[in-house]
Symmetry: D3
Subunit: 137 residues, 6 copies
């Protein structure tokens, strides 16, 4: 029986966002989120690494064709997020604060139905080189 | 006489922007600037490298103290640009399209009066890892 | 119930060190530690990545505010280690060889009491781009 | 009892390869492997990260001397793979498609007998910065 | 009169090659080119940075649209070089040794007629992270 | 007549140092050099990029064999600097403050007599990813 291997594909997108809790007043938002609360938004070059774990197919030697994985990420995530304002342009963040944690969870939920359920799936999202998150753990 | 040495300091800032020519109609802006024209902005992690050329001071061995240079960049550029919307929050871009080229020229003009004129000054700006500019040349 | 997410914060410090076992003679130390045993020390730019795992707070979308985590790392680790000689200036290494393994364990012990115990904590330390360690596993 | 620590060593090699299933006809190989099937090969700068997990030796503070680990990787892997054609020059790939997944498994099998069995061993292989794999999981 | 700005676009391609002088015997080729002379080829992930210098267009703020520059590089260079064997698949290297120096010169000659002559053009080519070249100087 | 090409080789070394002017008192040194003045030294992973400009040899396609250049750098620079204390172990810095500027000038002087004078030579030295220098300019 073949062993499991993890394969990874790195993609990126550029987006604007701001951190804000609609149920809080301006002062509390400012205190909690600091400069990330700037009313007119700021932005990031997000790096996204998608991990898929499964057994390599003996005929191809692939766990999953990374070109296919790249296409899925492009269709499900990049088309929606790249060169967009996450708060205003992406339905999932109308009522959900676009922290790196929440963006990673949303990306996972967008990808999961499009990746064969026999595979384990995990996403890592870099908001900057120094701040990044991983889901699930 | 001591020889000249170039010293470099790298800083970064995160900002939102959109590319748009106010004198053009929406269709032309869309055609020329593509997804960079998105009405609600997108954003980047900008990496900024500032180059200063001069003779090392024999007493210190420094061309310029890079902590001092870092402080100047922080005061003159990062305070204005970091976690901001370049089009809406930065006066210099009210009537100037915030392309990487124009941002680099604006940064140069902000820094130049604050760096001793005996030094040559140049800025390099990375909008992404794959798109970057340098001014002057 | 919210799912767990891992968040990461990258910091760095510059330090001198040498590898040496005080109970061994010079020849044995030289043989085992090679050029890392140089009597007058050598040094590194250490990159430190701290991982915290927990459930995002529904009100903020944060597992932990990465600015707060950064402050804790600065107070507990960087203030002690940055621009220091680990063997001579840091009490923890007076009788402990400052290998990357031991530095990572010491950093973990410095951070653990300052991070809410509901969170899992892990540190990764890069001595160079090619040599790095992780603790705990 | 000392705790376990993971140590990592990064190496690299440059090699040519092509993806092909000898039991398939040319059209099917072309369809499945695309430009990776190019008859005259293409190539990569492979980055290899080897992870070893164990308890640090109290006398040295090392899980394993990374110079020793580097030597083992050089002897067992780089000597065979570096500046070679994986399909033609490396016996293990005469009848095994040199996908990143299969290369990682072969590297693991070459290293495992040469690393003390008390250590856990894992390899991560970067074919490009954007495509990489890990084995075992 | 607007000032000149340098703009840069980074692309990459993966290719096989070997270094060999057809007019030399095998022993001399082996002695001069070492493992780069391996008969069955080896390969690299080449990173290519194209620099274009000119005056920003006042209407767009662009020296040149980097999407257009990227398209030109793709059509003129990547289509010919990516996932190819430079020695066997690329006409320019049938009788020219594909050293980094010669590849850079060939890329320059492929791009030059396709970039408006009012612009200065320069290419930088990374064969590995540690070996790279620039042309012209 | 062949055109000139620039070739680059990247090497690295790890060293301890401190910044200090022997003719100043402790208070002035502390004020000018801050934490870089720490009495017991600190250290860095220095990245060194050596640039050589010349005409490619028509027989080899090389400006200079980068393996030969690497050997020269190793013999003239790395043997002296790697895993050393620049202030105490390297004669050139007994009476010269080892700032990045001065280290770059010293490296240039060590290399220049060992590189054919027909070539232009330049060194770039990274003290950290964010602070680096270039000589000559």
């Amino acid at each position: 029986m073949p062993d499991k291997v993890a394969v990874y594909r790195k993609e990126h997108f550029n987006a604007a966002h701001r951190l804000n809790n609609d149920e809080w007043d301006e002062a509390l938002n400012k205190r909690v989120f600091g400069k990330c609360n700037n009313a007119n938004y700021h932005g990031h070059n997000y790096d996204l690494i998608v991990k898929v774990v499964g057994e390599p197919d003996p005929a191809t030697g692939y766990v999953i064709d990374l070109k296919v994985l790249s296409d899925v990420i492009n269709e499900q995530v990049l088309q929606k997020f790249d060169h967009k304002n996450l708060n205003l342009d992406v339905a999932e963040f109308r009522h959900l604060n676009p922290t790196a944690e929440n963006i990673a969870i949303v990306i996972y939920k967008l990808l999961r139905p499009n990746i064969d359920e026999k595979f384990y799936l995990q996403v890592r999202l870099y908001e900057t080189e120094r701040n990044f998150v991983e889901y699930p753990v």
